[in-house]
């Protein structure tokens, strides 16, 4: 595991969510992440990857190993070409859901990582970038 390493996985069907979780767990282990931080990151990945499969379409997850002033981190980007999110503020409200979920996916994932960026254009797709430092 070395800084600068990166890769991409498809996030298109349910089984891809499991593979995304397993891939990130392995990367986090290789970076020396503590169990609790790894658990939070993998849970966030599960929420975001599921969103990508359910609401997105044609989605992917990019992973990058980061290094900054001697510490390692993982940055994950979930991107899709789905319908996008018309109201980002509403989407980031606890308990709000456009589907039949609990409305904790986006807001919950945000609480579980160090950095969270959500970008979306209606009709073009959605991008969520999360970072967790070791």
């Amino acid at each position: 595991m070395s800084p600068g390493e990166s890769g991409t996985l498809p996030v298109r069907i349910e089984q891809d969510v499991v593979v995304a979780r397993q891939t990130v767990r392995k990367l986090a282990q290789d970076c020396g992440m503590r169990l609790i931080d790894m658990t939070k990151l993998v849970t966030a990945v599960s929420e975001l990857a599921r969103n990508t499969v359910v609401y997105g379409g044609d989605g992917d997850m990019d992973w990058h190993v980061l290094k900054e002033v001697g510490r390692l981190g993982l940055r994950l980007t979930f991107r899709d070409t789905g319908p996008g999110i018309p109201d980002l503020k509403l989407a980031m409200t606890d308990g709000w859901t456009s589907g039949n979920g609990m409305g904790l996916g986006l807001t919950g994932a945000k609480r579980l990582v160090d950095d969270f960026v959500l970008e979306s254009s209606p009709g073009e797709g959605t991008r969520v970038v999360i970072t967790r430092w070791v």
């Binding site: 609790i36 849970t43 599921r50 904790l104 807001t107 919950g108 609480r111 579980l112």
Partner: protein, 119 residues
């Protein structure tokens, strides 16, 4: 089709989740349990999740649903074996599993079920 086994022990059903579940597997378990409670007249369900590395909102919802549906079918559900890191993450995620009974391990979970069913 892939399925999570449900074991019967007297008047209780035991489920040990040992695989990294995809969503459909969780939904199948929910349906299978409802059918087994009905077929066996089970009074309690013990779900061991000690092998789960994470519990996300989907699995959390499944646990809540199983607990609710077993209650309306006159059975109690106890969830056991939540790992400390999983418990911390779950609460931070915003899920506290309201209405779900939990116990630290299988032994305590079985004790809890026996107490509930006999009184």
């Amino acid at each position: 089709m892939e399925r999570i086994p449900i074991l019967q022990m007297g008047q209780f059903l035991l489920v040990t989740i040992q695989v990294d579940m995809h969503d459909q597997l969780a939904l199948t378990l929910q349906e299978d349990l409802a059918e087994r409670i009905n077929a066996t007249s089970a009074r309690g369900v013990l779900i061991d999740i000690s092998a789960l590395d994470i519990v996300d909102s989907f699995i959390g919802r499944m646990i809540g649903t199983i607990s609710g549906l077993s209650r309306v079918m006159d059975a109690e559900t106890v969830v056991v074996g939540l790992q400390p890191a999983v418990a911390i993450t779950l609460v931070e995620l915003g899920l506290t599993l309201p209405g779900v009974s939990t116990a630290l391990n299988v032994e305590r979970g079985m004790k809890l079920l026996r107490e509930r069913v006999t009184t």
